[in-house]
Symmetry: C2
Subunit: 314 residues, 2 copies
């Protein structure tokens, strides 16, 4: 029988899933990693994947495909670009996996794009051919699916939704070096920033936040009637709705899924985002649906597996 | 031998091209039309196409595919939506063509999307897999190509670049009913509007324009040192460059082609648009090229043929 491995590579650990070809998740294993840049580290990854297989009596020759997420650009030919936030030698790891799994197709996919593919395969976008996933986490990422296939882009930058310029008057600088990116308003960090700014304008003491991405406390404050939290959430929703209207004019998806950590509070802002979208969208795209993603932080693992499965099937 | 017909349907006439499968344009025929909504009109179209074929000794059974542009939405399944600016019964015409060319694959494609496909096949985007065509005419249209295939969109509205909202403070209304669309700044009508507004602000008498889309006179005034024309062209370029930066974050094309009537003055604004793009684009997309389309007003005809050829080849 043919199995697929979906491997979500993070900064300090790997989450690997064993799937069958129908998309059933059979088992998951977390593998602690150091910097994945030499033979010792590659061997740790191979060993971890081997343990995942042997726990389910699957032999390495039964692995048809291995998909791996990377937090950076992957172009339409599957080439990994510069990875700024992680120590990973993608080619080195690929070579080690080829040795351990000689029969397997190996594919890399950008992590936000993988989440979109995962939702398409087994999540909130099943049965949909054209969709966009927006991941609201520490930053804002995205993945664009057209006719059932991921749009990687000429330079691996398709779906960089977080860097749509939404405010040309912004004075603060985004992580990317420009000003006014969606990420500055709709990421966890952005929402907290908007809340603090609203408190400052109103000369109100903000509620205590446990960290700089603690949107849960902002959402709680909103539920408790905090006017500054309301202002921040309305500002975030206005920009996110505008951004979705821009995206709709370019690729006209049937569905936009909202995922990532901030999607935990989806009910708080769902209606506001939809209202903003309707106010700003081209009439031809008004039937687009907006809804919450369903796979949570397993979306990347699912999508990595699906990406590899699609390439294996070619 | 197999031939392809590419049919560009306009308001008062049809331009039909006879192509071989390699994309060589063998002959062109203009067919005057009345409203294409009944058997009399369908017969006129069929007769015109027949004359185009017989002039080159091609029999109707040698026509493998017929592609037709429509000025309105066509979804990813090839279904034609509401056509606001033309009297055309697409299904009726398709039926008549099926009768006359029983062996031919028949496909409809949005006119702006067709132009993109045409440039991809035989124009300025040959050899490119990911590109966006922006058509600056009376309005602003667009076509998005991903991995060599047209993005139609879930509701046939992909590539509606003209309705990207670029200015949320705009007070005048776009043809689509909203305010601040790219079309209000970068179409022929938009450039003339910006020029007149600049003249009004400067209390300057505008140069004489022959019609409300006479950008040639505005471009000439600019060349002659007219400060208001300069202001209008700079404003147009700023918005167009910003729009291209937004598009790049979504689909990350390798090339953007500028076509349509306003592309006749491409050299006037090319550098300014590129500068604006660079100022606003996400760094990962900065290598994107911007250039002029090369097929002029034959792009739609080429693209209609290519669209039909792609479907025939499936």
């Amino acid at each position: 029988m043919a199995y697929i491995l979906g491997v979500d590579i993070g900064g300090t650990s790997i989450k690997a899933g064993l799937f069958d070809k129908s998309g059933n998740l059979i088992d998951v294993k977390k593998i602690q990693t150091i910097e994945i840049v030499n033979d010792v580290a590659y061997a740790m990854v191979v060993q971890g994947l081997g343990e995942l297989l042997s726990a389910r009596d699957v032999s390495s020759s039964e692995v048809a495909a291995i998909g791996m997420t990377v937090p950076g650009p992957v172009d339409s030919d599957g080439r990994v670009g510069v990875l700024a936030n992680i120590s990973l030698d993608a080619e080195g790891l690929k070579g080690a996996l080829h040795k351990a799994f000689p029969a397997a197709t190996i594919a890399f996919v950008n992590d936000a794009n993988a989440a979109a593919l995962g939702e398409l395969w087994q999540g909130g976008a099943q049965g949909v051919s054209n969709c966009v996933m927006v991941t609201l986490g520490t930053g804002v990422g995205g993945g664009v699916i057209v006719d059932g296939h991921l749009v990687a882009g000429a330079f691996g930058a398709a779906g960089e939704i977080g860097h749509l310029t939404m405010n040309y008057e912004e004075t603060q600088t985004c992580g990317c070096g420009r000003k006014g990116c969606l990420e500055q308003y709709a990421s966890a960090k952005g929402i907290v920033r908007l809340y603090h700014a609203a408190c400052e304008r109103a000369k109100q003491t903000p509620v205590e936040l446990s960290h700089e991405t603690d949107t849960i406390s902002v959402f709680k404050a909103y539920a408790a009637g905090d006017a500054c939290a309301k202002e921040a959430i309305e500002e975030m929703s206005e920009y996110l709705g505008r951004a979705l209207a821009l995206i709709a004019c370019v690729v006209d998806p049937e569905v936009v899924l909202i995922g990532g950590g901030v999607a935990g509070g989806y009910d708080v802002y769902a209606e506001k985002v939809t209202e903003s979208f309707w106010r700003h969208c081209f009439s031809g795209c008004a039937a687009m649906r907006i809804s919450a993603a369903t796979l949570g932080n397993e979306a990347g693992m699912y999508g990595a597996a699906y990406c590899a499965l699609q390439q294996w099937g070619k």
